[in-house]
Symmetry: C2
Subunit: 341 residues, 2 copies
DNA sequence: GGTGTGGCTGCAATCGATTACATTAATTCT
DNA sequence: AGAATTAATGTAATCGATTGCAGCCACACC
């Protein structure tokens, strides 16, 4: 209908008050009289007024939106985290901007520009594998309180962080396999340089040692979180001189592809080898066999991250406590693990 | 470092020119002399100037961002489409806003507000299941050229659309099963009221008739695109008096869950029944058995959608041709289908 | 030499909301 | 009753970039 949306001025004219009053009536209702408030509401109604965010953003120096940076949009692991983030943001009238690391990098944008050019009030980074110089830049910009790392983080950098109990989850996984009777356990890792990869690998090695188990060099198989890596890892495992009876993969995608590749070679899970994942993505339960894994509550992780960031943005000077949250994980035992043959 | 980012004024002062000239030097370089251009570049360099998007957006009445509306963020089907969209948008200096239908609805936001309040220049809607009154509102707002439906669409509404060859894909699927020797084929549908559900179901029924095959009432099993629906559908199929030898599911998620549920009941795919999906999501190939399905090139779909929307936004008056794109699909034969027992 | 012509540049208005400060009216206190 | 306080509203500056209009200069042409 109306091609031109009406402005505060229009509302003010119709209501017979000043723009200041209209603004107050809308954003801070208790500052105006009951009667003007209703008069303004009516005027808003008749004019079909919608606030112009660009104008407000300019004046308030706030964009009312948050950037979420992913390593890879096509990885289903992230979708539920996004749902959680989005839920909280929407609730607070914030918009969610999405970008993937690769694209930001490719298009030559600087990540910081999102903050500097007033596109975003803050950012949630789901990628701990950022180039070190990018991270340094973020730190030195003095904007650490407007940045939050979720799931992954950067060792040695001082950003607020939300993550899950990776260490404990890994111990749980190894213990589960041990309890089933496995004594020779392999680990397919995440990508080189990734914090999660290191934490989970270290915890794995630690627990293997604690249980006094054997660990051949070939039993720590390098991978990343992708499907392709899972297939490659399976081939590596198959090529092992001394195969393990169980394999703990650093992610579900990895584990599913691992099992699939084994299947292509006629190797049965869990009859011939037990396989575990980490994450508990939706499809894990529907896989055949259903995947034993370590569950991260991704929705809650997203919500927590968004909430923390929002309070940081809202109360920027509130330094100190509460800048790290570690969420519990839980072992989900399904059918991809069984006693060794 | 600098807490306050510098403005055009600062650059102008340093370069010894007016703000107008700086603005022109940056956004329309050929309008200024070579020498001033370099002077401005230097000034930008030394001041560390970053454009303030809020200011530009206000002045130009453009937000330089696009909203993507999903029915469900947690569905991996969409992630690759997002990747495609994001790629194109980033390339043109646009940002990608994401929201899910449910949340927009829950938070009482009006969808149109994104356009009206200058948060987004356009929107790509991946949900054909919007309430009819929402759709009417969008149409009547005269903003149809700033809205584009992708994957799904709304029957009878005149929006630019990108979709895949759903009809042909369905025929291919049925023919594939027919060629394998199946004569009793069931169909698990998408959600009631969804266009894709109708198109695929109609094409299915049509082709069954064309091939002169039997079609019992119970063989069209209502579902939606979710995992849970796949499980329910499998139970329904199991409960059938007269089971079919093949099942064509309206989505991969549906198909995978269907197979999983069968497996829980000890029914083997494809030995006892062939199952097909639609979409070819990443995990389909890694499933056991690998899923026979109809492939949609989701990346390309996203790219096409973004490109179309961008040209519409850029040349709004260019009505007429090119407001619908239909992308080809391809049959991907894997191992979840085989000749009937 | 006068007058066009055209290329660069500057001045200042503009986008639409927010908010510090001023003003007015109403209420309370001494 | 007069002074002081408080509450509600209005005035106008402001956020930072873009852009229509006008001015200026140099050069060419007659």
């Amino acid at each position: 209908m109306t091609l031109k949306t009406s402005t505060l001025q229009d509302v003010a004219r119709v209501a017979g008050v000043s723009t200041a009053t209209v603004s107050r009536a809308l954003s801070n209702p208790k500052m105006v009289t009951e009667s003007t408030r209703t008069r303004v509401s009516k005027a808003v109604e008749t004019t079909g007024y919608r606030i112009n965010r660009a104008a407000r953003n300019l004046r308030t120096q706030r964009s009312h939106s948050v950037l979420v940076l992913l390593p890879d949009l096509a990885n289903p692991f992230f979708s539920e985290i996004l749902e959680g983030i989005s839920r909280i943001l929407a609730h607070q009238g914030y918009s969610m901007l999405i970008a993937s690391t690769g694209q930001v990098h490719d298009s030559g944008e600087r990540l910081l520009d999102y903050l500097d050019d007033a596109r975003a009030d803050g950012m949630i980074i789901l990628d701990g594998g950022l180039d070190r110089d990018v991270v340094d830049m973020l730190e030195n910009a003095g904007k650490t309180r407007r940045i939050l790392f979720a799931c992954e983080w950067v060792e040695g950098a001082d950003f607020p962080t939300v993550r899950c109990e990776n260490h404990q989850g890994t111990l749980d996984a190894v213990n589960h396999l041990y309890d089933l009777g496995h004594r020779k356990i392999a680990h397919v890792t995440g990508p080189e340089g990734n914090v999660l990869m290191h934490v989970r690998k270290d915890a794995f090695v630690e627990q293997i040692a604690a249980l006094d188990l054997e660990l051949n060099p070939g039993w720590v198989i390098p991978g990343d979180f992708s499907i392709a890596a899972g297939c490659r890892a399976a081939q590596a495992w198959i090529g092992l001189e001394d195969r393990t009876t169980a394999v703990f993969c650093a992610s579900d995608q990895l584990a599913l592809a691992f099992i699939a590749e084994l299947s292509r070679h006629g190797i049965k899970v869990p009859e011939e080898v037990s396989v575990m994942g980490f994450d508990d993505i939706d499809i894990a339960e529907q896989f055949i066999p259903p995947l034993t894994t370590v569950r991260q509550d991704r929705m809650r992780l997203g919500e927590t991250a968004a909430n923390m960031l929002m309070t940081q943005i809202t109360y920027p000077d509130n330094r100190g406590a509460g800048n790290i949250a570690i969420l519990p994980v839980s072992l989900v035992v399904r059918e991809s693990t069984a006693p060794p043959p």
